[in-house]
């Protein structure tokens, strides 16, 4: 590597690391961004505009492929080239407590194929603990983070509508994508129950005059976006950071440990090139971890840093996507699709409706629904219909345009019994780096994991300060979901980016 003197090293190039790299290079720091995965441009390497009959096995994975991604439940034919095979970074779980972990290894991380929902938290989330007595409050309030939400939304582009709901603060929005027939049907049902169904707030460009092209409504967002309209750090923050001339991006670079000097300050990192297996050490004034929640925790544990409180890796909680409720809207049965309805990049959203004004008796916190409808390229519901023959075939055709689904978003509360540790049996990954053991009781559905490090002002009970700095190591920032004190029922990524931006701003003003 070139003998450049870097000011900052950022580990991981997903939502958290991408934002940190952007902020710090804009502030004039020389930034080295180390990403374990390869660089793949989603605008070129995708399976867009292909029909199932154009693909081998009609878009299904072969059994050999399925075996390689057994624990990575979101991997499929369309995204597996940016997903990580289980064997690449193994981990263990205690007997009878399986844990599935969706991991991407690529420049841009999970933002290459994420669900794009971009939602602000409110004080109902930040102060949930004082309201219901469970866990800890966040060390910040909505008013402090609101300007950073504005900043992130302007930068990445979020489509949505202003609704004035206390549990889901409005933001800086581009025009929302109109609801389809099915979402309108569901909305009418919701109104009767006093619930709101609003157009999804998604990180997709819908304005013609933005830094990235406007969405062309193909609906293939999950297969990586071929226009760059959907936000990923790979097409947005990273090129913008590179344009400052201050960023060096190094793909295929797996960080082993954060290196510390005698005073206990971070002096740099050690990493291995995944392709050549060559080892490197680099130095910088500040190290920023954005390797995703569990990977950043693993790095700190392996570095033996930041854990004087003993809280590191404790209180694992997660944002889960649980039950999927589907049904048919009778009025839509037999409707002939007038256009390619599946081109919607987001659909509808029913914000949390429990514990907003009134308090529920039997449970705390809440959940929300992501809603969707419209035809897609496969009538999966047909597998659940009884029978066969001409009548069956007719029924499939009738119901095909009438399908409506709601997916619940909930929170697994932070609990000390749920935690991660370095594998006590000494297991290592192919690069010789010690791996994790994950103890989680509800964790069948991990998708959007947050929280480990109880970010509180008191160093005895927390790992990070309110500006994401390690109490023990003042020039080490942790900017991903590892910093969340509770998972909330909301999709976390907008907040991860807002907090990462805020932490970097603060560090530039007051370097630790």
């Amino acid at each position: 590597m070139k003998a450049v003197r870097y000011d900052a090293i950022v580990v991981g190039s997903g939502a958290a690391g991408g934002m940190a790299a952007y902020k710090l290079s804009k502030a004039g720091l020389k930034v080295l961004l180390l990403e374990a995965g390869p660089d793949k441009d989603p605008r070129r390497e995708n399976f867009h505009h292909k029909m199932p009959f154009d693909l081998a096995l009609r878009g299904a994975m072969s059994p050999q492929e399925r075996d390689r991604y057994r624990l990575n439940k979101s991997a499929n034919v369309y995204n597996k080239h940016v997903m990580m095979e289980d064997a690449e970074e193994p981990y263990s779980t205690p007997p009878g407590k399986p844990f599935t972990w969706v991991r991407s290894r690529v420049v841009g991380g999970k933002t290459l194929h994420w669900g794009r929902f971009s939602l602000r938290f409110s004080d109902l989330d930040f102060q949930a603990a004082s309201r219901d007595g469970y866990g800890v409050d966040w060390p910040i309030r909505y008013a402090e983070i609101a300007p950073y939400y504005d900043f992130v939304e302007r930068l990445i582009g979020v489509a949505g509508t202003r609704e004035g709901l206390p549990q889901l603060p409005d933001g800086v929005f581009q025009p929302a994508v109109p609801l389809r027939c099915g979402e309108h049907q569901l909305r009418q049902g919701c109104e009767k129950l006093g619930l709101h169904l609003i157009p999804a707030r998604v990180a997709v460009v819908t304005r013609p005059d933005f830094s990235r092209p406007k969405c062309h409504y193909c609906g293939y967002c999950g297969r990586l976006c071929c226009t760059g309209s959907m936000f990923s750090t790979r097409v947005s923050l990273i090129p913008m950071a590179a344009a400052t001339g201050n960023l060096t991006l190094r793909p295929n670079s797996m960080v082993r440990v954060v290196l510390a000097d005698k005073e206990g300050r971070a002096r740099g990192v050690a990493f291995v090139d995944r392709l050549t297996r060559k080892e490197y050490e680099v130095a910088a004034r500040v190290v920023v971890l954005g390797a995703s929640c569990l990977e950043s925790t693993r790095l700190l544990l392996n570095s033996r840093l930041g854990n004087s409180s003993g809280e590191l890796g404790r209180n694992l909680c997660e944002h889960i996507m649980a039950a999927k409720i589907s049904g048919f809207a009778p009025r839509l049965a037999g409707k002939m699709p007038a256009y390619a309805e599946d081109g919607h990049p987001g659909a509808g959203y029913i914000p949390q409706f429990q514990n907003v004004t009134a308090r529920e008796k039997d449970f705390i916190r809440g959940y929300s629904f992501e809603c969707s409808s419209g035809v897609s390229d496969y009538p999966g519901f047909a597998h659940g219909l009884e029978g066969f023959g001409a009548a069956f075939k007719k029924r499939v055709k009738e119901l095909y345009p009438a399908m409506v689904t709601m997916e619940t978003n909930g929170e697994v509360l932070a609990r000390r019994e749920n935690f991660v540790e370095i594998d006590p049996d000494g297991a290592r990954d192919p690069y010789g780096i010690r791996t994790l053991r994950i103890h989680e009781t509800f964790g069948e559905n991990e998708l959007r994991m947050v929280t480990h490090m109880n970010e509180k002002a008191d160093p005895r009970t927390s790992v990070l300060d309110p500006f994401n700095r390690c109490h023990d190591v003042p020039n080490l920032l942790v900017v991903d979901g590892a910093a969340f004190p509770s998972a909330t029922a909301l999709e976390p990524t907008l907040t991860i980016m807002a907090l990462a931006a805020r932490a970097c701003d603060h560090w530039v003003k007051q370097p630790g």
């Binding site: 009959f53 919607h344 035809v375 390229d377 066969f388 075939k393």
Partner: protein, 159 residues
């Protein structure tokens, strides 16, 4: 004709379409699969499973798409079906009258017979991912790009 003869060439039979042959299924098994698929999703005013060559899809899945347990279950189920038909009616499944075939499948469907379920699932996959099933039957219009997204275009849905 003349020209070819003049050039001293001989016509090659069947050059246009080399006959498809199953890789995993035997010829009789292939016929059974074809028959079953067509009973599950028959041709109506739109193409059926036979038109969509669902049997070819199933043969391909047996070769590359199913794990060994799935493949074994399928082939054993297929054999058991014929065995049963021989015992009960003295004929293989394909030789039975259609009404009898349908009655048999109705029995299996009601009992959620594992082989029937597997055969049905494969037939649905093969059919609805084919040109005939997706484009003709379901009239799927995907793969388009729009300047603006239409949303619901039915005023009657908003009432």
């Amino acid at each position: 004709m003349r020209r070819r003869e003049a050039l001293g060439l001989v016509a090659l039979p069947g050059l246009a379409a080399p006959a498809w042959k199953p890789d995993v299924l035997s010829e009789p098994q292939n016929r059974t699969v074809e028959t079953l698929a067509e009973l599950i999703l028959p041709r109506t005013d739109t193409p059926g499973a036979r038109d969509a060559q669902v049997n070819r899809y199933i043969d391909r899945m047996l070769k590359e798409g199913l794990d060994s347990a799935g493949r074994q279950a399928f082939l054993e189920g297929l054999a058991a079906l014929d065995e049963q038909c021989a015992k009960r009616f003295g004929h293989a499944f394909v030789e039975l009258a259609e009404s009898r075939q349908v009655a048999l499948l109705e029995e299996m469907s009601a009992a959620r017979h594992p082989f029937f379920q597997q055969m049905k699932n494969l037939t649905l996959r093969g059919y609805y991912t084919s040109r005939e099933g997706l484009l003709q039957e379901l009239q799927y219009q995907g793969n388009r790009a729009y300047e603006n997204y239409p949303g619901c275009t039915h005023p009657e849905h908003l009432k």
